[in-house]
């Protein structure tokens, strides 16, 4: 009994001591300052966490706290006012924007790519896919690896007669949105049967939780085919294929090919930055690429936080971009950055 009470009082004492921080950790607040909360997509979480940490080193009293709940959750929390900013891999829909207390500013921060990953142990060559082929696999029309449609694109590979085990995301996700957005553009069948959203009715396959879950399932299941963000494919060292782009070339996803996709889109960038860059024009463009956005209210209630976040955004769009490459994200083209810096002025800071 005594031991128990000692333990209990220790816990209470610990929780009662107000913020005596541990020594020498990076990102230590010196007391006071601003604590800003944001939530949103999981895809950009690595680079955002890097940015917030680096920014905190430069401005020790600014503590920006981001939680990857998912694009949709980020949007909902922003609308509900429980977080100051949101983050999403898919632009908000018009009816969602109508619910906001003031207009929502979409700020693209970095670019990402979705890649088709597979598990075929006997194959050493990189596989090539076309958009329509990927759509047919997802629809369940092509269900063996040695199907003529696959073999035609990959004559050199000795494709086994294994079933293609499709792996998709079990939960709603911006990654799924980008994938479906692309497939719908290249396959009318997919568009009519499945459609485009962050959650879909998948004709076949199993669902893995998160990019990591899909990666794990693909790694464990011989003959699997799934889709994950480039960052995860690179870090997990899973084989991924090249996809044919709008210009007809087979391009493998990389920082450069994604930037090329954005460059093509930059020319036609709408003023509110809500644009899809899948199947982008350009020789070197990777077809399944996308922006990821930070979402701010144009007229937020807390002006101090607004000032801080605007400053941060300016830093992220300029200095922050240098961290993107190493983490597997493509930095924004300069033309887009210039447009955004101007758009930032729309946030009412007073």
């Amino acid at each position: 009994m005594r031991i128990l009470s000692i333990v209990c009082s220790a816990v209470l004492a610990l929780s009662a001591c107000s913020g005596s921080p541990p020594q020498q950790s990076s990102g230590m607040p010196t007391g006071g300052g601003a604590a800003i909360n944001g939530a949103g997509a999981t895809f950009p979480q690595p680079i955002y966490s890097k940015w917030f940490a680096e920014y905190n080193k430069l401005h020790p009293d600014v503590r920006i706290n981001y939680q990857p709940l998912g694009s949709g959750a980020g949007i909902r929390q922003l609308l509900a006012g429980t977080v100051f900013f949101g983050a999403s891999d898919q632009p908000m829909k018009d009816d969602q924007m109508a619910k906001a207390p003031s207009r929502v500013l979409h700020l693209p921060t970095v670019l990402g790519a979705v890649v088709p990953v597979y598990n075929l142990s006997g194959i050493s060559e990189e596989l090539k896919f076309t958009g329509p082929l990927l759509a047919d696999i997802i629809l369940g029309k092509v269900n063996k690896w040695n199907d003529p449609a696959v073999a035609k694109l990959n004559p050199a590979a000795k494709l086994p007669p294994t079933d293609i085990a499709v792996v998709h995301r079990s939960e709603g996700s911006g990654t799924t949105f980008v994938w479906a957005d692309y497939l719908a553009k290249v396959s009318p069948d997919f568009k009519n049967t499945v459609g485009v959203d962050s959650s879909l009715k998948w004709p076949v396959g199993v669902g893995g939780k998160g990019n990591e879950g899909v990666a794990a399932l693909v790694r464990q299941t011989p003959g699997a085919l799934g889709y994950i963000e480039l960052v995860w494919a690179l870090q997990n060292k899973i084989a991924f294929g090249a996809v044919q782009n709008a210009a007809g070339k087979f391009v493998k996803a990389s920082v450069d090919s994604v930037t090329a996709a954005a460059a093509g889109a930059a020319a036609n960038m709408p003023a509110d930055f809500r644009v899809s860059i899948t199947n982008a024009p350009g020789e070197e463009a990777y077809p399944i690429a996308s922006f990821t956005w930070l979402l701010f209210l144009e007229n937020p209630q807390d002006k101090t936080q607004a000032r801080i976040m605007a400053e941060f955004a300016r830093w992220a769009l300029t200095d922050g971009q240098k961290y993107a490459r190493d983490l597997g994200y493509a930095p924004l083209p300069q033309t887009v950055v210039d447009m955004e810096l101007k758009a930032l002025e729309q946030i009412r800071l007073q």
């Binding site: 998912g70 949709g72 709603g172 459609g195 959203d197 962050s198 959650s199 879909l200 939780k209 399932l217």
Partner: protein, 317 residues
């Protein structure tokens, strides 16, 4: 007389003090039910009772039905219960009746360790260790067995079998711990009486189990409740494919899993309300399971000698 007056007042005080907390619990549960109902109004109005029977889950087209999820939840939980109850009872019996006292504390500690493992660790272990293992079993099933619907389908590893196994493992510590405590509280006199009458070890244990049967059923129901609501571990190994099938090898989907997976991203009010309605269906399902188990316990307790309560106290005061 004064003693009786004070006795009565104290009784009232005691009863209201503890009763308030009981009311709090009930109020909380009602509040959850009401909140679930209110937040699923759109979906209820749109689909009505069809929701329970529709097989389709299509967020893009706006068609939602809970049948595959109800199926998956019930199938996985009942399977888990079938697997775990004998084991949990076996452990409870062993620890409380059979094992040498020195070993007892260690074994109790070890079973509690199973409960200490977080849900997500089960999920990760499930994906990296259990699923490949199950996949080996699925690959090794002889051809003649694969014809039976129970074992049909491609050997993916993820599916109902993995989910049931992991749920069973997660439920064992809860059922066995409560059963163990309940068995320990059976008065020694009862056991001694049985032995005096010439019972074998097992027969004495059987008597103890019978004596404590309502507690044992309670323990099993606690485990069942845990299985019904388990989210993280299940969603990582069940394959998340909403289909209604008997096959143990097929990927399926449970209500808790779909709620956890899609709630964060649900765009569109109808979608969100349909998800909350699934939560409501799960809630109602738990209610129904409770009622059934209560009827079960009722029929068993009817044979139990009544314990004196108010009548005895009134006489004593």
């Amino acid at each position: 007389m004064i003693r009786r007056f004070f006795g009565r007042r104290d009784e009232v005080l005691f009863r209201s003090a503890t009763g308030v907390f009981a009311l709090l619990v009930i109020a909380g549960v009602i509040a959850i039910g009401v909140a679930l109902y209110r937040e699923s109004m759109l979906s209820i109005r749109e689909f009505g009772f069809q929701f329970w029977q529709t097989d389709v889950w299509d967020p893009v087209a706006g068609e939602f039905g809970a049948k595959p999820f109800i199926w998956g939840t019930l199938y996985s939980s009942i399977l888990a219960l079938l697997i775990s109850t004998p084991i949990a009872l076996g452990i409870a019996v062993y620890v409380s009746e059979l094992c040498p006292p020195a070993l007892r504390r260690t074994l109790v500690f070890l079973t509690e360790l199973l409960a200490a493992i977080p849900s997500i660790v089960y999920g990760l272990w499930g994906i990296f260790v259990l699923v490949p293992f199950v996949r080996q079993i699925e690959v090794a099933t002889p051809e003649w067995m694969k014809v039976i619907p129970l074992f049909s389908g491609p050997p993916l590893g993820v599916g109902m079998l993995s989910a049931a196994l992991i749920l069973a493992i997660m439920v064992i510590p809860f059922s066995s711990a409560v059963a163990r405590e309940v068995l320990r509280s059976v008065p020694q006199a009862q056991r001694e009486g049985a032995y005096a009458l010439g019972a074998t070890r097992w027969e004495a244990i059987r008597m103890a189990l019978f004596y404590a049967r309502t507690g044992i059923v309670g323990a099993v129901m606690l485990g069942f409740g845990r299985a019904l609501g388990e989210t993280m571990a299940v969603t990582m190994v069940i394959g998340n494919n909403p289909q209604v099938t008997w096959s143990l090898y097929a990927p399926q989907y449970t209500m808790a899993a779909v709620l956890a997976n899609e709630f964060a991203e649900a765009s569109g009010d109808l979608y969100l309300h349909a998800l909350v309605e699934i939560g409501l269906v799960l809630f109602i399902l738990t209610l129904i399971v409770n009622v059934i188990s209560r009827m079960f316990i009722w029929s068993m307790a009817a044979q139990r000698p009544r314990v004196f309560r108010r009548s005895a106290l009134k006489a004593a005061a």
